[in-house]
Amino acid sequence: MSALSNDLLVVAILGYALAMLASAAEYAFGNRGAVARVAVRQRELVGAAVGGSVASPAGDATPVAAVAPEAVAPAEDGPVRGGSEAARVAVWAGWTGAALTFVGWLAHVACLVTRGLAAGRVPWGNMYEFVLAATLVGATAWLVVMVRRPSIRPLGLFVTLTLVILLGVDGMRLYTNAGPLVPALNSYWLKIHVTAAITASGILLVGFVAAALTLVRTGYDAGRTRFPYTLGDRLPAADGLERLTFRLHAFAFPIWTFAIICGAIWAEAAWGRYWGWDPKETWAFIAWVIYAGYLHARATPSVKRTIATWIAVLGWAAMMINLFGVNLVISGMHSYAGVK
């Protein structure tokens, strides 16, 4: 069963990696793709309002400016009007990417379930399993967002990239054998506190991807031309990305608060005090404060939205330090990573 779980992890990583390649193909071939069309439509509407002519993005062969605003089809994923072969390939690649993401997700679920069966308990008792579960929540959140807003599908490239990196590190570096829990973790709080932490982390993962893409797109709109910002011409409008970022963070923040509170209640039962500034507690607090700062910044009119989004990215950095730095580098009472 444990071996089956390991095989399924490989299948999941392969699934996400192939999905990533397919999404990358959509990006490469599809400046006529759904993504650009949404981007172009926004710009054209603006252009029409201003009354000037619309410049085509990043100098390419097929002119886009010729498409009149009213003529842009509301169905953003249909074949391009007067489009080329490359465009059709791109859209097809995009749908393949989405399907492969789903396949990878199925393998990921099976991997986690078989791991739980192999260990005879809920599958989040050490760092390997924690990352496995949190990335699953992130993948699920991404699939939900994709179903509700199909136009956002091409951003799957960045989500699958993140998933492949995290799962790869997890499998190669953090792996431990399935075994029973150490006595300190043997409590029903494991199901409550760690589940909440995993859920919040997973959703914040997708929120981070959205925040990063918002910044890329905003930078591109502001006229920057260095590498990350060149991805901006294929991204949807900054406004929509920014709203998505906010909604993801607003959804995850109460869950993270709940996880910290449950951790405090469990700490009282296990260690005698509900808060002791243990490194993991401290970094969870730091991440909480930074995300609170993000919500605050977004509610303060005098703070620009870009700055607020940078704060969200900083919050994810704190989460990563909390997960990798505290578990592996700093030692405290939370050292259940199990990593040798």
Binding site: P183, N186, S187, A264, A270, I286, V289, T300
Partner: protein
């Protein structure tokens, strides 16, 4: 002309006095402190200030690591200590940041609370005259009947959607229906921020009136302890705590069972204890890692465990003494290192205690619960499958009579270095029940081991208030993030179709859709009156 002359004669106007300037400065400073931008900066400072607390060892978590840091960085450590870097969360600068944050919070929220109460008590305002200028508007809502009845229908519809509604009759027979909702959002906001304050106050209460104390407890009725300060290895009392207020309980460890997996990883720890409160009878109880002993005003937690060898030494005058010495663990397989001391050994019954010729005896030892091979210095498994005790004998002056506190887990190195305490033999290997003879004919026996546990006793009266505050915080947060502030107006003219408009306090996704659905239902409701 006359006025100009009068002007010239009047003394020049005085500038603001110093008092006024200070008040003005104070007001500006206060407004700056309570602004949201400042709150943001302070939040970041708080996060930043917590970082060194997680990277450097902290005294309250691990005093040993702090001491080790001093040894590793002898030049840097004292400066860090002056900056309170080893006690970050109780340091003045960390406290300054969160206290400023809370002042900012209270200073911002009290006026908001006043404004919120006033807003809640107010009625929904009159409809603006130009509904078509609102971000969402709709016209052509056909009214089939009496405007008053239509207004009543709309009122019922909106009340059903949890709006507060006010119907006003206009001059000329028309009606306006004003509706607003979303005050709960601000209530949630205020609740969240005041819960933070509650948590802070409860934490302060807990630290004033609470205490904690640590102790190592060896199994046996002769090794029990009571909740008095002298009996603890380490303790910290809150500012308002005295011995008299502490729960008068006594505790002894009757048995300790640990089970391990095949790999040596632990799978369960159970300590069977019995406790008495005051003069009451003895009660049995079980303490496990996630299940402390909960008394009325104290809780006892199980932290760690290990082995305490029982060693009997018979000196050259035939007197024997048995010492149970706890040996601290060195690794996860419970290789234990410690010291067994016999300060009353070899006292000539005829002469009595002679400070010039002390023949006190001590053994430094390693206890290995499972020996894998004779030359291995570490244990292979935490349970006692193949136990062996390695003792190195010392004789001389142990240095305990000077009254200077020393560690019970190691010999006084100074005595060994100055030759007052000497090694008198090679390492002795003993299995349980085994004995050996030293160079002067005296005998040492290894009688077996007793388990020891480390316990911590804690009392925090502010805990339940912190929990209440935390729960309210979460509730306030969810309400705040889910709430939507919305105002909707309908204008029903004396004859002809009605119009509608809506305004959101801050744009949220779904605003337009929500307005559309309200207007749809209104159309259905009002057209068939």
């Amino acid at each position: 002309m006359a006025e100009a002359a009068a002007e010239a004669e009047r003394p020049p106007p005085r500038g603001p006095g110093t008092g006024r300037l200070l008040i003005g400065l104070g007001r500006r400073l206060w407004r700056w402190l309570t602004s949201m931008r400042t709150a943001l900066i302070l939040l970041f400072l708080l996060a930043l200030a917590a970082i060194p607390g997680s990277l450097l060892p902290q005294r309250n978590l691990n005093a040993d690591k702090v001491a080790q840091y001093f040894r590793d960085h002898p030049a840097l450590a004292p400066w860090l200590d002056r900056a309170s870097a080893f006690n970050v969360f109780a340091s003045p600068w960390f406290s300054a940041i969160y206290l400023l944050l809370f002042v900012s919070l209270v200073g911002c929220l009290l006026p908001r609370l006043r404004a919120h109460i006033a807003a809640v008590l107010r009625v929904p305002p009159e409809a603006p005259s130009r509904l078509d200028r609102l971000p969402a508007h709709a016209g052509g809502v056909e009214v089939g009947g009496d405007p008053a009845a239509a207004a009543e229908r709309l009122r019922i519809l909106l009340r059903g959607k949890r709006f507060r509604v006010r119907v006003r009759e206009q001059a000329g027979g028309g009606f306006t229906v004003s509706a607003e909702k979303g005050h709960l959002k601000e209530t949630g906001n205020i609740l969240f921020h005041f819960s933070l304050l509650t948590v802070l106050i409860a934490v302060a209460l807990g630290s004033w009136y609470g205490y904690h104390a640590d102790r190592l407890l060896i199994q046996g009725a002769d090794q029990g302890f009571c909740n008095t300060l002298q009996q603890y290895d380490d303790y910290g009392l809150g500012a308002r705590v005295s011995q008299a207020g502490m729960e008068p309980f006594c505790l002894q460890l009757n048995d300790f069972k640990a089970t391990y997996q095949v790999s040596g990883e632990p799978s369960d720890f159970t300590a069977s204890v019995s406790y008495t409160i005051g003069d009451g009878p003895a009660h049995p109880a079980t303490i496990k890692v996630n299940e402390p002993l909960r008394l009325a005003k104290a809780r006892v937690y199980l932290l760690g465990h290990g082995y305490a060898p029982v060693v009997r030494y018979t000196d050259r005058y035939g007197r024997s003494q048995t010492v149970v010495a706890a040996f601290p663990n060195q690794d996860s397989m419970l290789t234990s290192l410690g010291v067994v001391e016999f300060p009353d050994a070899n006292i000539d019954p005829a002469k009595g205690f002679d400070p010039a010729d002390k023949q006190q005896v001590a053994f430094t030892g390693t206890y290995i619960p499972t020996v894998s091979s004779d030359t291995s210095a570490v244990s292979a498994y935490p349970a006692e499958r193949n136990p062996m005790l390695f003792l190195t004998p010392y004789r001389g002056d142990l240095g305990l009579d000077a009254g200077i506190p020393t560690s019970v887990y190691s010999l006084d190195e100074h005595q060994v270095e100055t030759g007052r305490l000497n090694k008198v033999g090679d390492v002795i290997r003993l299995t349980p029940g085994g004995s050996a003879t030293l160079d002067d004919g005296t005998k040492v026996e290894f009688l077996g081991t007793r388990p020891w546990i480390t316990t911590t006793v804690r009392y925090d009266p502010g805990e339940s208030l912190v929990l209440v505050g935390a729960v309210l915080l979460l509730v306030g947060l969810v309400v705040m993030l889910l709430g939507r502030r919305l105002r909707v107006w309908f204008r029903i003219p004396p004859s002809g179709p009605a119009s509608a408009g809506a305004l959101a306090r801050s744009a949220y996704p779904g605003f337009a859709a929500e307005f559309e659905s309200i207007v749809e239902e209104a159309r259905k409701d009002v057209s068939s009156v």
